[in-house]
């Protein structure tokens, strides 16, 4: 368990004010502000000094946010495209990267100058990502990479990718993997958009043909890729299941309540209205529970890298979020039949500008919540086995060489 430096809340607030004296979010754009924030150790206060942090407890990140909000109308939050880099890239580089990688990569992850993507899933390996088939073969100081990744979010914007590849097919699947930081601009990397249920393409297919990666871009040791991947996946669950809104009744709930206030009468019978009102209240309660549980987890969080408990919030959030937007469509009633935006296939999604349009969009988008970052079924397996200690199922793929295991 990590030891944290002790610093009073007040001192951290002072340091935050010192940052604001130097650059003010109302006066500069996101990137230059966040560069300075990093230099001051206020990017991730729980990271060590010199790497964007101050070696404090993770809960104290909120203090920085709070102080900035107090003194500035503009807040340069994590840019949406950087969520993967910030939520998963940074902790994995910090835990496994060389000194040079940390100095080179961390500042730009935080500032938003460099976007990261996660190259894990493949057509034949999703839930069973440790069964993946992309190969990396050693050639002098380099590795040569071949294979295909799929569902790779923001790959089309990315400078770097967290890549898991098979370096030894002759051992059981978990033992033959290695973890690399892939330069997405390297020759042989091809990114093609993959359109989704909403018509947009947040994610991509990534084809890798004879791509060279220098050996010193490996995170962890050869054959230890799975261990490194676990760090990434645990952080992913927390990044995704982060607890929704920080404010009571905020976020998705606020949108649902707005819709409800506009539409509650909507020609329904009193009985129908009472039923819907109860469902809206339930949704309110459920999102409050997510917020409170995230708050409780932060109070309990002692070390930097989260454990399997992160799956509680991930699972709850996915299911609650889907229910909330299903309900929003029911509140819309027959208007739920239309989809004004249409299904034009495109890579950048315009932000829906009315609450009705948002509801229709989220109704579709939220289906991914229980698939991305590990499906709800996999979360239940993790909770059952790793948290509750229930026995695993009989396995056919554990003891045998990866190449002997059947794949679809």
């Amino acid at each position: 368990m990590a030891e944290h430096r002790i610093m009073s809340d007040e001192e951290l607030r002072e340091r935050t004010r010192a940052l604001l004296d130097e650059v003010h979010p109302e006066k500069v754009e996101s990137i230059p502000f966040r560069q300075k924030q990093y230099e001051h150790g206020l990017a991730w206060v729980h990271f060590p000094e010199g790497y964007g942090g101050l070696g404090l407890s993770p809960k104290m990140n909120l203090i920085v946010h709070d102080e900035i909000t107090k003194h500035s109308k503009v807040v340069h939050n994590d840019p949406p495209a950087s969520i993967i880099g910030i939520g998963m890239g940074a902790p994995v580089v910090l835990t496994y990267g060389t000194e040079e990688m940390k100095k080179r990569l961390l500042p730009k992850i935080f500032s938003g100058e460099e976007i990261w993507c996660q190259l894990f899933s493949e057509p034949s390996a999703g839930s069973d990502v440790a069964g993946l088939a992309s190969t990396a073969v050693r050639d002098g100081d380099d590795w040569i990479l071949n294979g295909q990744k799929v569902w790779t979010t923001v790959a089309h914007l990315s400078r770097w990718g967290m890549l898991l590849a098979r370096t030894n097919p002759d051992v059981p699947k978990h033992d033959g993997l290695s973890y690399f930081v892939l330069d997405m601009h390297a020759p042989g990397v091809e990114v093609r958009p993959l359109y989704q249920i909403t018509g947009e393409a947040e994610f991509n297919e990534v084809f890798m043909t004879d791509v060279r990666i220098p050996h010193d871009r490996m995170l962890g040791k050869e054959g230890q890729g799975w261990r490194v991947a676990i760090t990434t996946l645990m952080n992913e669950r927390v990044a995704i299941g982060g607890g929704g809104s920080k404010r009571k009744g905020g976020g998705a709930t606020a949108q649902l309540l707005k819709l409800w206030q506009e539409r509650k009468q909507g020609g329904r019978s009193a009985g129908q209205e009472a039923i819907l009102r109860d469902r809206v209240t339930r949704a309110y309660i459920e999102t409050e529970l997510l917020r409170l549980t995230a708050q409780r987890a932060r109070a309990a969080q002692k070390s930097g890298n989260p454990g399997p408990e992160g799956s509680v919030s991930k699972l709850a959030q996915a299911e609650i979020h889907k229910r909330l937007w299903e309900l929003a469509i029911d509140v819309l009633g027959d208007d739920g039949l239309s989809f004004e935006a249409g299904y034009e296939l495109r890579q950048n999604s315009p932000t829906p500008d009315t609450v009705e349009a948002l509801a229709k969009y989220q109704f579709l988008r939220s289906r991914a919540n229980s698939i991305e970052g590990g499906t709800s079924e996999i979360m239940r397996n993790i909770l059952g086995e790793r948290v509750l200690g229930l026995p695993g199922e009989p396995r056919v793929d554990k003891e045998v060489a990866w190449k002997e295991v059947p794949r679809s």
Partner: protein, 372 residues
């Protein structure tokens, strides 16, 4: 203003002490013994709990002989009692009646009764609900009649916690000033108190009838808002108790799923069972957040306490019942027997869901409060 959910080392010690005490005094055999009695608890244990551990007077200020603790400590105690299905007049005496005295009673009554309660010399009960089946204060119809020497009560109060044994009986009725708190002597004329055979035998409920029964008004002015708070405080404590019970059901179910073999494997290795357990875990964790939020909000006097208490009672009621029901299913035929304690939790879960208003009732309260 807000709070975080941090427990101190002293809190953890308190939890360990209570758990140890209940393991000795409220094991399954003790629960089964007490639930079969009419009184429903062991006076010696109650006495010990009050004197040696200061639990009866947990919320009572030190000036009245209590421990002077708050809602964070109470939450821990309730969670542990819920876990152990502890049979005692705790919710009625140390929570409901104590809060009513603290919030509504005049100085003299407060001093006299709280001292007795803290010392373990008296148990107490608040009678508020009536046969109309309503749990909200607006449902209280009983009118107190003014007499030369005080007041007289006539009518019936239902679901009175330990009402058949309580040494001190407090009653909510209407007077010219609005809702008021009355004190009735246990041997008063025209008073009759009967144990109601109930679904959950680990918590005793009584029906109390009054026929021109003399009563002393011990509050001044309309107590509607104070009583609303009293009930919400009791819901918050009950929610913590529910969470303790739900957590225990989850543990019983997972322990059984690890050891029960069918088709050559532990049943917990089948996803149908494993996923039930995982879902219970998620629900129990969420319910903990709700119950803790309500108790921390009470402890720190948050403006939105009433909302949080309604939310907690709604959420924890459903979670406990669901966990208790799944616990039966996971235990199979054994779960259906009298011999295993599984059914005791199931009954407690349903009874505490209905007591003080079910989940739908509290969702409606919440919806009104937040303007849904």
């Amino acid at each position: 203003m807000s709070f975080d959910f941090s427990f101190t080392d002293e809190h953890e010690e308190l939890r360990a002490t209570i758990r140890g005490f209940l393991q000795g005094r409220s094991d399954e055999a003790a629960v089964r013994e007490q639930m079969a009695t009419e009184r429903g608890y062991d006076p010696e244990t109650w006495q010990q709990m009050a004197e040696q551990m200061g639990l009866a007077g947990l919320l009572i200020p030190e000036e009245h002989g209590g421990a002077g603790f708050g809602y964070v400590e109470l939450l821990i105690v309730m969670e542990e009692m819920g876990r152990a299905l502890f049979c005692a007049p705790y919710l009625g005496t140390a929570v409901l009646a104590t809060n009513a005295l603290l919030q509504c009673a005049d100085e003299k009554t407060r001093k006299e009764l709280l001292t007795e309660i803290a010392a373990g010399r008296a148990t107490a009960s608040l009678a508020h609900a009536e046969p109309n089946g309503r749990w909200d204060l607006e449902g209280i119809e009983m009118e107190a009649r003014k007499t030369d020497s005080g007041y007289e009560l006539t009518g019936t109060k239902t679901w009175v916690l330990d009402g058949h044994t309580a040494d001190v009986l407090l009653v909510v009725a209407r007077s010219a000033e609005g809702l008021s708190l009355f004190r009735v002597e246990p041997d008063a004329d025209g008073l009759s108190r009967t144990l109601v055979p109930s679904l959950d035998t680990t918590r005793k409920l009584a029906r109390v009838t009054f026929e021109g029964t003399p009563a002393v008004r011990v509050s001044a002015g309309d107590q509607t808002e104070a009583l609303r708070r009293v009930l919400a405080l009791t819901q918050a404590a009950l929610a913590a108790e529910q969470v303790g019970g739900a957590q225990r059901c989850l543990e019983m179910a997972t322990d059984f799923a690890k050891t029960r073999l069918q088709f050559g494997r532990p049943i917990g290795s089948y996803q149908a069972i494993k996923h039930k357990c995982a879902d219970m875990l998620v629900e129990v964790e969420m319910a903990k957040s709700a119950a803790y939020a309500a108790c921390f909000a009470a402890a720190t006097d948050q403006d939105d306490f009433l909302e949080t208490a309604a939310l907690a009672k709604a959420c924890c009621s459903e979670t406990y019942f669901h966990a208790a029901a799944e616990n039966i299913q996971i235990h199979g035929g054994m779960g259906f027997t009298w011999e295993l304690p599984v059914h005791l939790y199931f009954k407690r879960a349903k009874a505490s869901e209905l007591f003080l208003g079910d989940a739908a009732h509290h969702r409606e309260v919440l919806a009104d409060l937040v303007g849904i």
